[in-house]
Structures are given as structure tokens and as C-alpha cells.
């Protein structure tokens, strides 16, 4: 009993037992979120720093709410109004924040590996809120929590993850986590955005959307990261939409209870049609609700102990 990891850097290498424990605990916190008073005193006296070197709405608010609802004290740090602009290094920044006696750090950074680097220069517990093209573990956990909540299980379900796989840390964390949980993951996107290394993990890939969604229990659309398309991986947004937009016609080709997911923010009409995003199969807002529960669970499970 109890979680076997000290930090949450990614889902790569995390055991099935640990993932199950995080999801079970998140279910318990989901109950707390249904109460009139949504706050429990569990992390009273703990200080959690939200170190966001990259823009974020959902993840940041979600972590901050999770911290407040556990009675921890959140401290928000954003690069735009900090000494990072004066040239302070990441190591110095974290050392200075640590000197003010903090317990946990939630970090988002555009460079892969920053959360791991931080574990090497501080004693605080590190939680990865997205690092470069690497991982976004709490997103994958909330995705799995949502699937389990709606379909009752994970084992054996087929998930099609569609879009810009190359730039997606969400796809990467989900590919690791869902495979560990016995789910069948298929990745789909333009061939130029399908990194070949996934094949060595035993995750099948295709550039044909219809092939990917065939027999799928869950369709997860990824945001087309327009800010990262300078390399010209596909000719035009219009062509991308023609081949990879998940619309009503595609939805109707699938069983009635298929789940449609999206990590947000949605490019409406590009990767996901509006009537599907707002339709009965969409669990996108449930994902957001579950995000708070999952983050409470992660902070709770990692936040105990005398040494932070």
C-alpha cells in the first residue's frame, strides 16, 4: 500500500499498481468535489509552488484549485514578471524559491527533462505539469480516470489518439500509461508528424483516420499546435482538416457509446467539429472536472512525509 514514487515526472516506467492507486484516490477526491464544502484540511501547512515557464490556462488553474482544496498554500510563479527576464538560471531560481521553505513544485517548461533536472537540485517533491515534447502525466491520468468513470474499465479498450503526435506530450504520456494499463493505443496523424520511435514501443501508427477509429472505444483528438508548425509538416490547415477533422459523419460510423476526448484548448473546426465537441459523446468538460480530482490525488499521495 502507498505509492512507490517520490516525484511524478512522467508515466514512463510507472507501475500499474501506482497508476491504479492514483486513479482510485482521484475517484475519492471526485466525491469531495461534489460536496458543498469542497475543501479538506489534508495538506494544511504545505507550500506548493506553481512554476510555469509556459502558458497554460487549464492545467495551471486546475493545479491551483487542487492545492487550495487540499488546504495547501499555492505560490504562483510566471516567467513574464520574474527575474528570469533578468537572466537568472533555472537552477538559481529553484534554489532561491527552495530557500523560502517550500514543499512541492509543480513545473511546466518548454524543455523536456526540466522536472528531472529540478529533482537533482532541490529536496522538494516535483510534479511535472508538461515538459517540452516529453510528458504531461496528470493529463494522461485524468484521461484514464474519465474513461474508467464512463466505461467502467480500462483493460482491453481501444483508444485512437489523433493529431500532431510528434509535438504532443499528451500522446506520449497516454501511450505509456494506457499501455501499462492494458489498453490498445493507436496513434494517427500526418506521416510527417508520426515519430517512428513509437513503433519500438509496440504502439501501432497509421496516417488513415478511418483505420485508426475503426473499433475504437475512445477517440482522443489532439490540438493542432499551430505555433509549432513552422517546419511545414503538412501543406495547409485546410488539407489537415480535410483528412483529420473528426466530424459528425465519422462519429456516426462508430458505436453509440464511443467517447470523444480532447485535452484542450480546441481548434474548433480544425481537428474537431463543433457539433461533435458539444455533442453527447463528448466528455471534454468531464475531463476538466476530473483534472482537479487527479491533481488532488497526486499532490496528496506525494505530499506526505517529514521531508516533504
Amino acid at each position: 500500500m502507498g505509492i512507490s514514487i517520490q516525484h511524478l515526472l512522467g508515466l514512463d516506467g510507472i507501475s500499474r499498481e501506482d497508476i491504479t492507486l492514483m486513479l482510485d484516490t482521484a475517484d475519492s477526491f471526485y466525491e469531495v468535489l461534489q460536496r458543498e464544502i469542497k475543501v479538506v484540511p489534508t495538506l494544511r501547512g504545505k507550500t506548493v509552488v506553481n512554476l510555469f515557464y509556459e502558458d497554460s490556462t487549464r492545467t495551471r488553474i486546475s493545479f491551483e484549485l487542487a492545492e487550495k482544496r487540499l488546504s495547501a498554500s499555492p505560490l504562483n510563479f510566471s516567467v513574464s514578471n520574474s527575474s528570469v527576464n533578468k537572466g537568472e538560471t533555472l537552477r538559481d531560481t529553484i534554489k532561491n524559491i527552495e530557500a523560502m521553505k517550500i514543499d512541492m513544485v509543480v513545473v511546466r517548461h518548454s524543455c523536456a527533462g526540466v522536472p528531472y533536472f529540478l529533482t537533482q537540485c532541490t529536496d522538494a517533491v516535483i510534479v511535472n505539469a508538461g515538459d517540452g515534447l516529453h510528458e504531461h502525466p496528470t493529463q494522461a491520468l485524468l484521461d484514464m480516470m474519465t474513461i474508467r468513470q464512463k466505461l467502467g474499465r480500462l483493460e482491453g479498450l481501444k483508444v485512437a489518439i489523433i493529431g500532431d503526435i510528434f509535438h504532443s506530450r499528451v500522446a506520449r504520456s497516454n501511450a505509456w500509461g494506457m499501455s501499462t494499463m492494458g489498453m490498445k493505443v493507436v496513434l494517427c496523424g500526418p506521416p510527417t508528424l508520426l515519430p517512428q520511435h513509437y513503433e519500438s514501443l509496440g504502439v501501432p501508427m497509421t496516417d488513415d483516420l478511418n483505420e485508426a477509429i475503426d473499433g475504437a472505444d475512445v477517440v482522443m483528438m489532439l490540438r493542432l499546435q499551430r505555433e509549432r508548425q513552422a517546419s511545414g509538416a503538412f501543406p495547409t490547415i485546410r488539407e489537415y482538416r480535410n483528412r483529420y477533422c473528426f466530424d459528425l459523419e465519422k462519429l456516426f460510423s462508430l458505436p453509440e457509446n464511443v467517447l470523444v476526448m480532447h485535452p484542450g484548448p480546441i481548434n474548433r473546426g480544425i481537428e474537431l467539429a463543433s457539433d461533435v465537441a458539444d455533442g453527447n459523446n463528448s466528455v471534454i468538460l468531464q475531463q476538466v472536472t476530473n483534472g482537479v480530482a487527479v491533481r488532488m490525488a497526486v499532490l496528496y499521495l506525494l505530499g506526505g512525509g517529514e521531508n516533504g
Partner: protein, 182 residues
Amino acid sequence: MKKIELLMDKHGLDLALTRITHQVLERNRDFSTFGVVGMQTRGVFLAQRITKRINEIENCTLESGILDTTLYRDDYKMAFRQPHVKVTSIPFDINGMNILLVDDVLYTGRTVRAALDALMDFGRPKTIQLAVLIDRGNHELPIRADYVGKKITTLSNQVVSLKVTEKDDEDSLWLMELEKGE
């Protein structure tokens, strides 16, 4: 752990719960505003049994709930491995209700303290009464039970272990002793 003494067998457990039920009936008149909340894990089953007895005698259907106090514990900072958060379910409005809180063992009183805090977050009950199957002494907080199945004196290296058929396939209450290194 080794067994020291059988405190209650199935018959003893039945008698104790029946007695507690009747004491509850004596002290309370109006069961339309009465709810029973069992504390995780074994208290839940005791609460169900008491609820069933009251329902049969009073010919009513009491509100019942389940409470897990993990998130309200005061030893969170001391534990290295976090205890598993179990289900809490209070499916009725506790405002103005008379609540019977049921647990298996009263020891330090810290779990009950946590339970009181947790219940208050759900609303403002009119009264909260506490029923425990066994009060083993050594209270660390000024908390006592309103209904006690059995009262004993124990040592700190001893453990009181309840088994219920719903979960463990037998009804028994044992006094156990921790062996060296446990």
C-alpha cells in the same frame, strides 16, 4: 501478531449490537430526523447492522452514510506512505439531523476527532452521538462514546481486531499482541 483473548464471538457481537440498538432507541424519540454514519472500514458494517435493527423495531427506513476520515487525520505529516483514501458517501442532508456515528474501536480518540471535523463539512447536524463496539482506553483527546459494546484496558503493544462476516467471513473480536519487530 498473536492472539491473546477472544473478546467477543458471533453471539457476543450480536448481543452487544442489540444492546446498543436498544440504548439508542431509549435515548432517541424521533427517527424521522435520525441518520446512521459508519466509519470506514469495519464501522460501516456495524452501522448497517444497527440500522437494520432500528428499522425493524421502529418500522422505518433510516438514512445511512459512510465516512472515511483519512483526509482529516492529524498524522498526515508523519506518515511516509499515504494511507489509501476510501469511499465517503453521505447521500442525505445532515443539517438538523441527529447523527449516530459508528466505529469499531475507540482508542486515542483521534479518528473520532477527524470524523467530527469531516461531518461538520457536510453541514450542521443537531446532535452527533457516538457508538463503538469496544472502548480500549488510553484516550489522548477528551472524547468519549455514548454507547459502548465493551470496555477494556489495553497496552500500547496490543491491537483490537474486529472481523465481520460481510468482509472477513467470520464474526469475531480479538485482542492481539504485536510481536517484536512488527
